[in-house]
């Protein structure tokens, strides 16, 4: 087994983050109970029954929400923290990119810091001497290398830290979300370096929030949630499962937000009717509820393509807004309105049945009005919804202003509000690589 796998955690790796008595420690009690205080007072299981193996030469991604134990797992593998149960076995030299430039001293020069940092990471002076030019070249810091590190920008600092760590030439590279730093150009350089590592058969364990990176880069992925392994295996499948869970979480959040908004909106009859033109009202973005309630909107439901109530939608998918109504007495003067606003309060779209020249003839008792959108062509973001019933002259029966929240998700990070259906075409002398080719593997 030793020759096959470079990195294994055997059977039920567990660790507890020990929280020591801290806040309310007074001197007499601290002295009298010295030994007791050295025992952790409270423990929090950071990882429970996590077990995974990273074969030599493969790239392994760990994903999960904040606080799910990803970094703890990495620190266990690095040997920085010790597991309370279970075994970590690593064959080969490790270099951990957990915090770049962690050992830099601000007062001394970049050059001196490279040497000291290199020694901390296990290199000898001679090895650093040999690699020094390469390190400086990689960090793009040739003209600043003799300046004190405190004068560096945070990007320069990170670049130097990364350059040193990567030139340790480890067998196993542990990476904790370090690609978030540095500009675009440097990030690409780092990715190229990782690709080179892969080609040379090195093992990489990657903790990241960049799902894109995991899909493109990793041979296998692990999803941790609340310290437990949810699933592992094929990166695409793991990322998919994770995204589904994230959406469910967001859905829950939207439900709660909406419920709170509706609840805190004005109770029936407690307000003065504000007969105003619907279209001017559209642009005042204060949430609330008003109207005479002769016709009441009892519920607003958002439905997805399958007709299921939802609060999280994908850009381009169908969306139906269903208004449930109750008319206290029959009427023939009624207009239904809908407004969609983005997080900045910009009205993305607003309409009503009057604008669309629909003449009401009768409404009686419980009713339902559905506003169906074939394709929700909005960019990713959180949106709020107006729903209203009023008279043709604007006299409000029941006006729900920004009470309903929904989220649009998109895998494309385009900007703006509206995504028109579009297609790029090019003359034959313009060519693009396939997306996957960019990883350089």
């Amino acid at each position: 087994m030793r020759t096959q796998s470079y990195l294994t955690t055997q059977r039920k790796l567990a660790t507890e983050t020990r929280m020591y008595r801290d806040a309310d420690r007074r001197l007499p009690s601290a002295c009298s109970s010295l030994m007791r205080d050295l025992q952790p007072s409270e423990t929090f299981p950071a990882l429970t029954d996590v077990s995974f193996t990273v074969p030599k030469g493969s790239t392994y991604g760990v994903i999960g929400r904040n606080g799910s134990g990803k970094s703890t797992a990495l620190k266990l593998v690095a040997g920085i923290t010790k597991p309370t149960g279970g075994v970590v076995r690593v064959d080969g030299r490790i270099s951990a990119l957990i915090e770049l430039g962690a050992g830099f001293h601000p007062e001394i020069s970049g050059r001196e810091n490279v040497f000291i940092n290199g020694i901390m990471l296990g290199l000898t002076k001679r090895q650093i001497q040999e690699r020094f030019d390469e390190i400086v070249e990689f960090a793009e810091l040739r003209e600043f290398i003799d300046a004190p590190v405190k004068t560096y920008s945070s990007g320069m600092y990170m670049r130097l830290g990364f350059a040193v760590a990567i030139h340790v030439d480890p067998d196993v590279l542990l990476v904790d979300e370090v690609l978030a730093v540095g500009d675009e150009g440097f990030t690409h350089k780092c990715l190229d370096k990782f690709s080179e590592f892969r080609r040379r058969g090195k093992t990489i364990l990657l903790v990241t929030h960049s799902l894109n990176l995991v899909e493109r880069f990793c041979d296998e992925a692990l999803w941790l949630d609340a310290g437990r392994a949810q699933t592992h295996g094929d990166p695409k499948r793991v990322v998919g499962a994770y995204l589904t869970a994230v959406e469910q979480g967001e859905e829950q959040l939207m439900v709660e937000t909406t419920a709170r908004a509706v609840e805190s909106a004005a109770p029936p009859g407690a307000d003065v009717p504000q007969p105003q033109d619907l279209t001017t009202n559209m642009f005042q973005a204060t949430e609330g509820r008003w109207g005479s309630r002769e016709i009441e909107i009892t519920d607003v439901v958002l439905r997805d393509a399958a007709g299921q109530p939802s609060h999280v939608f994908h850009s381009g998918e169908p969306l139906s807004i269903v208004l449930r109504l109750r008319a206290k007495q029959p009427t023939d003067d009624v207009v239904f309105g809908i407004g969609v606003f983005n997080a900045e309060g910009v009205c993305c779209y607003g309409t009503n049945t009057f604008i669309e020249e629909m003449n009401p003839a009768a409404l009686n008792g419980d009713a339902e009005a559905t506003f169906a959108i074939d394709a929700l062509d909005l960019v990713e973001g959180t949106y709020k919804l107006d729903a209203a019933v009023h008279k043709r002259d604007g006299y409000p029966y029941d006006y729900h202003r920004l009470l309903y929240t929904f989220r649009v998700k998109s895998r494309t990070h385009d900007v703006g509000i509206y995504r028109p259906r579009h297609k790029w075409t090019f003359s034959s002398n313009v060519q693009f690589l396939q997306r996957d080719d960019r990883s350089g593997s």
């Binding site: 020990r18 010295l34 040997g79 920085i80 007062e107 001196e112 000291i116 004190p148």
Partner: protein, 264 residues
């Protein structure tokens, strides 16, 4: 334990470069730089000389000039005291290393002790110059004991440094307590008063319990007083005690090691 000690030897390159970094960083950006390591003790010695010859002349038999006598004890004491207060905060100050890098934590308190030892060495020329100017020529045979005294103090300080560093992680109060304890310790050690004073001799057994008494008296005998080192038995006994203490403190440090990354 054995492997720990072997590791310490393996880390010597790291320790050496960290000590060098510590020294470089301390004076980086100051105009006089390393000269401060000489100027600081020089100024201190001049002030003591002025006070004890002009303002408050001390005529104790056999200890003239009094300021130079005091200085023989104060320099090693400064090394000792600053080592301990630096070491006590060393793990907390180096928290980034302990939390984010696989880093041998024991290196940090030892670096504190060693960096201050270098400052001690840098101040020695001033002391020697004053000794020679005031006609106190140390006996060359006596001087053989000097490295031994330094070594004993190094082991003794390192032991306490390891213990304080490990405990301070859990009890931040130690840093404040330590400042006061060191003050008390300083005055209960025969540094600013001679060992052979009648009042000291009356409580001799009490002074003997204070480890630093033996270091201070040894330094004074080696550097200031003529004649062979009469205190050598005590010095060697302290050396043996220091080794045992070092092993015990290192053991304690090792026991608490796993908690550092979580508490720092």
């Amino acid at each position: 334990m054995r492997s720990n000690l072997e590791n310490l030897i393996r880390y010597r390159g790291l320790i050496a470069s960290l000590v060098a970094r510590e020294l470089k960083a301390r004076y980086r950006g100051s105009v006089l730089g390393f000269a401060w390591s000489l100027i600081n003790p020089l100024l201190l010695l001049i002030i003591y000389s002025f006070v004890f010859t002009t303002i408050m002349p001390n005529e104790t038999e056999g200890v003239k000039p009094y300021a130079v006598f005091m200085f023989c004890g104060i320099l090693p004491w400064n090394w000792f005291a600053t080592s301990l207060s630096d070491a006590a905060g060393s793990l907390i100050a180096g928290g980034n290393l302990i939390k984010k890098v696989l880093f041998p934590a024991e290196v940090l308190p030892l670096v504190s002790v060693l960096a201050n030892m270098v400052h001690f060495f840098l101040a020695l020329p001033i002391l020697i110059a004053f000794l020679l100017v005031s006609g106190r020529y140390p006996d060359p045979l006596d001087l053989v004991w000097f490295p031994i005294a330094v070594l004993v103090q190094l082991v003794f300080s390192s032991a306490l440094a390891l213990m304080l560093a490990a405990l301070t992680v859990h009890f931040r109060d130690i840093r404040d307590i330590l400042a006061n304890v060191l003050m008390l310790w300083f005055f209960s050690t025969p540094i600013i008063y001679p060992w052979f004073q009648a009042n000291v001799q009356r409580f001799r057994w009490l002074f003997n319990l204070n480890p630093f008494t033996h270091l201070a008296v040894s330094y004074q005998e080696i550097l200031f007083f003529n004649g062979p080192l009469g205190h050598w038995k005590w010095l060697l006994a302290l050396g043996a005690f220091s080794i045992v203490l070092f092993l015990a403190c290192y053991w304690l440090f090792d026991r608490l090691r796993d908690s550092f990354a979580e508490v720092v």
